[in-house]
């Protein structure tokens, strides 16, 4: 379900946000890299959900506790506050109903960690401005007609959604094109232009 081929620098940031021995659900866990890292380095009790059967089978053969499932359809089966953290990494933009998904994350987990590509990044803006076509960049490599990313948003948009559903932002991190963290002192407007990816720690 992780639909970006880009190097997953965001995973390190996500991992830093998680306390050792926590209960973690990784929604869209892909091949299980984050879960495996969290299990070995932070001794978490990790579970995963992944849309692609190939990803699931790979995870299970690696000994991870992962089920095949769809964030839009299957999150409703999890009980309230069953996890300390629910991670949704590079997947929000591929869901049919991001608002409902985010609602579920905050219901299932004490905290939700959401990372997504920022559609407000200057490279995206420039591409649309100069070519007049939907941006295809190194990190967003799909054409408009075959992309699984159907609900792109900017960092600004995401903050708007958080306010709307009453999610409190505990911390936020933006990464630039080289995967470097952008200083926290910078204003949102700066993040929204220079952040290529954003990682939010949310709580309700």
């Amino acid at each position: 379900m992780s639909v970006n081929e880009a190097p997953r620098v965001d995973l390190e940031v996500v991992a830093r946000l998680i306390k050792p021995r926590a209960r973690v659900l990784d929604v869209g866990c892909g091949d299980g890299s984050l879960l495996e890292f969290l299990q070995t380095d932070k001794q978490v009790d990790g579970r995963g959900m992944e849309l692609s059967q190939r990803g699931v089978n790979e995870c299970v053969s690696r000994g991870l506790s992962v089920i095949q499932g769809d964030a839009d359809r299957d999150l409703g089966f999890y009980p309230d506050k069953g996890f300390d953290y629910v991670v949704l990494s590079q997947t929000l933009q591929a869901t049919r109903n991001p608002k409902a998904v985010l609602d579920h994350l905050l219901r299932i987990g004490e905290r939700a960690i959401v990372s997504f590509p920022n559609f407000g990044h200057w490279r995206v803006r420039l591409s649309l401005l100069l070519t007049g076509r939907m941006p295809v960049t190194r990190d967003l490599s799909y054409s408009w007609y075959d992309t699984p990313n159907i609900h792109f948003c900017t960092i600004r948009d995401f903050i708007g959604l958080c306010e709307e559903i009453g999610a409190h932002v505990e911390s936020a991190t933006a990464l630039d094109g080289n995967g470097q963290t952008i200083g926290f002192s910078m204003p949102w407007a700066f993040w929204n232009v220079f952040g290529q990816q954003a990682i939010f720690l949310l709580r309700r």
């Binding site: 059967q53 089978n57 053969s61 690696r62 506790s65 089920i67 095949q68 089966f77 009980p79």
Partner: protein
């Protein structure tokens, strides 16, 4: 040769070639039917050695027409064990590291008490005097066998189809005794369609005049035709349309043209007839009635107030479910329902759906993805249990 096989078969019911655990009158089996079965016996096979901590035991639960001969040559058919591809020294379930137990279920016909066993009250085979057996009864009997080995907690319970139902029952009613559970190609209940197919099979057996109201042994006969037809119908449900067509198509059997008669013109007819005929050599017709009934009666959610998640409340067991894309007897949706219930119960669960055209029977075959999933799941569970997780 046939006569020898038959004698062997009758002997297997009372005095099998496997080790037998006999429960004397002081140790009855409580049946869901509301009666006590006593005395009764369980025939079983074991492979490998139980470690000093008694923590390396794996219980294998067999399917409808399976038996305890999971990884050794079958005493009646002379064929390899039914899960020989998976279990043995150096195999995925490595008997050099694990102690593997497989017992013939209660109601079976290979040495555990079943309708072909001698009823001590009459000196004749039970026939239909044996109470109807449920999946829960089978598991209750197995737990008495596990007690006998002095094992508090099994490392793993696994099985496919009816075996998978037993796995679910184990994980539900004896959760604290199951470290990890591997139910394959199964469901938490038998669907209406599945009950329907079983009913066709039972009616075929009972319509055979040689069935004699279930007392065929007493008159020295056996309802072979009826049982063979039951097996033929059932066998179709174990395969997929795609696999049947790939294997047989409309190919003719040893002939160039249609005979305009009712011989086995088509290869598929010949194949099914063969399946039916070979089955009756190794299986008891009444036992077939009991086995199919036990599956029909299984409904784990109904046993827990209609909520499947309640069956797994507070479960510490680690689960891995497996389904196959072309299995229409226990389709993926059945496994997914269990997965959702386990999620709702907060249990640890993995779920793998394997792409194959080999239908329900895929769980018995050499399926590399199935083996990879079982291997990965067991390794990580072994690590968590503090066992050697293998090379």
């Amino acid at each position: 040769m046939v006569a020898v096989t038959r004698r062997r078969k009758l002997n297997e019911a009372d005095d099998p070639s496997s080790p037998v655990l006999r429960f004397e009158p002081g140790k009855p089996l409580n049946l869901d039917a509301g009666t006590l079965l006593s005395p009764f016996q369980l025939a079983y096979q074991t492979y490998g050695e139980l470690n000093a901590a008694r923590s390396n035991a794996i219980l294998v639960c067999h399917a409808l027409t399976g038996d305890q001969h999971v990884a050794n040559t079958h005493p009646v058919t002379g064929k390899p064990g039914w899960w020989d591809v998976l279990i043995g020294p150096g195999k995925i379930i490595d008997t050099r590291r694990f102690f593997v137990i497989c017992s013939n279920v209660i109601g079976g016909c290979l040495g555990s008490t079943g309708p072909a066993s001698t009823n001590p009250a009459t000196g004749k085979p039970y026939g239909l005097d044996l109470p109807v057996i449920t999946i829960r009864d089978m598991v209750r009997a197995q737990s008495m066998l596990i007690d006998h080995f002095g094992i508090d907690r099994l490392f793993c319970v696994l099985g496919g189809s009816m075996g998978g139902m037993q796995v679910l029952e184990w994980a539900s009613s004896h959760s604290e005794r199951v470290f990890c559970a591997l139910p394959i190609a199964t469901g938490a209940r038998h669907s209406s369609q599945n009950i329907a197919f079983h009913e066709v099979g039972r009616q075929a057996v009972m319509a055979d005049p040689e069935w004699h109201g279930g007392k065929y042994f007493e008159v020295g006969r056996r309802p072979e035709k009826g049982l063979a037809v039951a097996r033929m119908a059932a066998h179709i449900t174990y395969l997929s349309e795609a696999a049947l067509h790939r294997k047989f198509g409309r190919n003719l059997q040893d002939r160039d043209r249609l005979t305009f008669g009712f011989d086995a013109d088509f290869q598929i007819e010949s194949y099914l007839r063969h399946q039916g005929i070979t089955f009756v050599d190794r299986f008891d017709a009444n036992s077939y009635l009991y086995m199919t009934r036990s599956m029909d009666y299984f409904d784990l959610a109904a046993d827990h107030g209609g909520r499947l998640a309640e069956a797994f409340r507070n479960s510490q067991t680690r689960f891995c479910l497996v389904s196959f894309t072309s299995d229409w007897l226990f389709p993926t949706s059945e496994s997914r329902e269990i997965v959702h219930a386990l999620n709702a119960a907060g249990a640890s669960v993995s779920f793998v759906e394997i792409e194959t055209d080999r239908g329900h029977d895929a769980f018995l075959l050499d399926e590399p993805e199935l083996f990879a999933a079982i291997n990965g799941f067991l390794r990580s569970a072994a690590r968590a249990r503090g066992l050697d997780d293998g090379p």
